[in-house]
């Protein structure tokens, strides 16, 4: 069977080679890179602009961004017909292609996040390494830990006030450079779509900007939800431990409302920006009404009406806006809001990627996408619900392990 045939249903006049070639993994790709960029921008709001209320979530967002970073190229790998040739993108980059920039942008960004993390956690590594060095009769595990932390210090054991001050300066500079790079990382994902002149729905110079805005929205939303869940879980565990043994005197601290409220403000700000741009694009297309508009109107207002106006704008944008903007925000309402925002951003990616392939190049036929839910071979798994869910869960699993080395909440040793 031809690639794409299994999940594509053609209607009316569609040319023989047209299928939905870019399926759910290409929806996941901008979604995940969006989360990476968004999480980083959130952390930079504290480090660069010194927004104190975001201090708690900033460190968390940076570590989470690092975990997400490893997942960002995964959807592409699952999508490629030859995943092992994927490295060719970096080996023989063909620079007239937007995708060819991936290696450079991705590694630049990765280097910035990694170095910022290192400066942020250097003191922690040194303290850990020193403490482990002093342990007599180390166990195997302690030896390994000792070696790991010593390695992570990269030999920089100076944790005097001066040295730490320099670290802070470096973090600020890196976070500053990181913002445009993060925006570029995602803006270029938007460019990949926006520059396809053959696709009437994708081709707009606004696409990269729309992608960046919705990326920041989704990144903030994901950080908020993870922050709330982790904090509440910690509170729950400590409470339970206390009940059982009544020994722990640790301060029980759940998700802080003021942190959530403050972050929500930024989320709403970027969300409004994103919606405005998307609506501008829509109005502009309708007003100029070039040749493709007849087809696009049919797709936007008829065929995909439910996905675009109910799921994306209604459930994903309007309801969260109401939830966040009505007075007296509670944690519970915030949780519902951010979940809907994440869903809305996912639907936006879906409507762009799948919606852009919902019509034929002939402008006289349609293609329907049927997401493979129950896989019956490797292809229907990786480009189906299973593959998409695995990609979505991967950053959380990675975060669990990364957070063991970069503790996000016991803030005492790091700054």
């Amino acid at each position: 069977m031809v690639h794409g045939e299994i999940w594509t249903i053609k209607e009316l006049f569609v040319t023989p080679n047209e299928y939905i070639y870019w399926s759910v993994q290409i929806v996941m790709y901008p979604f995940m890179t969006g989360l990476v960029a968004g999480a980083f921008v959130l952390s930079s709001l504290y480090h660069v602009f010194g927004i104190k209320e975001l201090k708690d979530i900033a460190r968390f967002a940076l570590v989470f961004s690092f975990a997400l970073l490893f997942v960002a190229p995964m959807p592409i790998m699952l999508h490629l017909q030859f995943p092992f040739r994927g490295i060719n993108v970096m080996m023989t980059s063909h620079f007239t292609s937007a995708i060819a920039a991936f290696g450079i942008v991705f590694f630049t960004y990765g280097a910035i996040v990694a170095s910022e993390l290192w400066f942020l956690y250097r003191k922690h590594f040194v303290v850990k390494a020193n403490a482990l060095r002093d342990v007599q009769d180390k166990t195997m595990l302690q030896w390994m830990e000792y070696l790991m932390y010593t390695g992570l210090t990269l030999g920089a054991f100076d944790i005097s006030e001066q040295a730490l001050h320099r670290d802070e300066k470096a973090i600020k500079v890196l976070a500053g450079i990181g913002i445009p790079v993060a925006c570029f990382l995602h803006g270029y994902a938007g460019f990949i779509f926006g520059s396809v002149k053959a696709n009437a729905l994708w081709m707009t110079p606004l696409m990269p900007v729309i992608f960046i805005m919705s990326a920041i929205v989704s990144g903030i939303a994901l950080c908020m939800i993870t922050y709330i869940v982790v904090m509440e879980y910690r509170k729950f565990m400590i409470k339970r431990a206390r009940k059982r043994w009544e020994t722990s005197l640790e301060e029980v601290k759940g998700a802080e409302l003021h942190v959530v409220t403050m972050t929500a403000k930024y989320l709403v700000f970027f969300l409004i920006f994103a919606i405005s741009l998307e609506l501008l694009d829509l109005i502009f297309r309708g007003y100029t009404a070039v040749k493709s508009w007849d087809m696009l109107r049919t797709i936007i207002y008829e065929r995909d009406f439910y996905d675009i106006f109910i799921m994306q704008y209604g459930i994903g944008n309007l309801i969260p806006l109401i939830l966040f903007l009505s007075p007296g925000l509670t944690i519970r309402r915030a949780v519902l809001g951010v979940l809907l925002v994440l869903f809305g951003v996912f639907m936006m990616r879906w409507n762009v990627v799948i919606g852009g392939q919902a019509f034929s190049l002939t402008f006289a036929g349609f293609m329907h996408y049927h997401l493979p839910i129950i896989p019956h071979d490797w292809e229907t798994f990786k480009e189906g619900l299973g593959g998409a869910l695995s990609i979505f869960l991967m950053p959380f699993v990675l975060f669990y392990f990364i957070a063991k080395v970069f503790p996000v909440f016991s803030a005492k040793e790091s700054h």
Binding site: I9, F82, H94, G365
Partner: protein
Amino acid sequence: MITRRDFLKKTVTIAGVAVPLAAFEIIDPEKLFAQVAAEKTKVRWVFLVDTYKCVGCGFCVKACKNENEVPYDANVTRTWVERYVLTKDGRLFADTPKGARDGFATTRIDLGLGKYQDIKKDNIEKAYFVPKLCNQCENPPCVQVCPVGATYQAPDGVVLVDRTWCIGCGYCIMACPYGVRFFHPVHHTAEKCNFCYHRITKGMKTACVEACAFGARKIGNIKDPNDPVTKIIRTERVGVLKSEFGTKPQAFYIGLDEEVR
């Protein structure tokens, strides 16, 4: 203090080293390839389709599939034929069942989803067939977007795919405004019409041109003023598909209708 002897010695040594170094020149392989190719061939392949002559038999599609080893039953094809029917009540119908591999055996229009439209003969205002294939654009968007350079334009204008280097991202398929690209069902790499490159470079015609009994398809060299195809393109009224994309397509059509997509 440098002696005359030392000075001469050093000068000779430096000069001796410098001369062989200068003998090396950094050669840009792409430039070299273009130079050699341009000298060898004064060729720019173009295609000419006379839509008046096409009867929709689909022999070209069959021949192409066999020649280029695109699985016969796979629902993809390097070339195909479209049928357009305009009715007296102003409606446009178009279809290309299986790329017209088996010709248009019935007058019913294939609407997809297993539905068909009967059109009464006396309701037809005009109807015609349009063969499609790769336009071997002068400014090919598929080549532009390939992230690894696996698809490239030969000096004679034909756009080719390196099956050993294609990563299968599908960006070229998305970028082509003509829908000529697809994933090969066996090789899983991007696949497209290459004007039967293995044939035309040996002085033969493409498989589809050979198979067309009506002379609807012709291939020629636009750089050769004596080529009959060149003469037609230069002297008659021909059109190209979707010129608005700036791709500068090199498949020319006689009798191209406004309705052709």
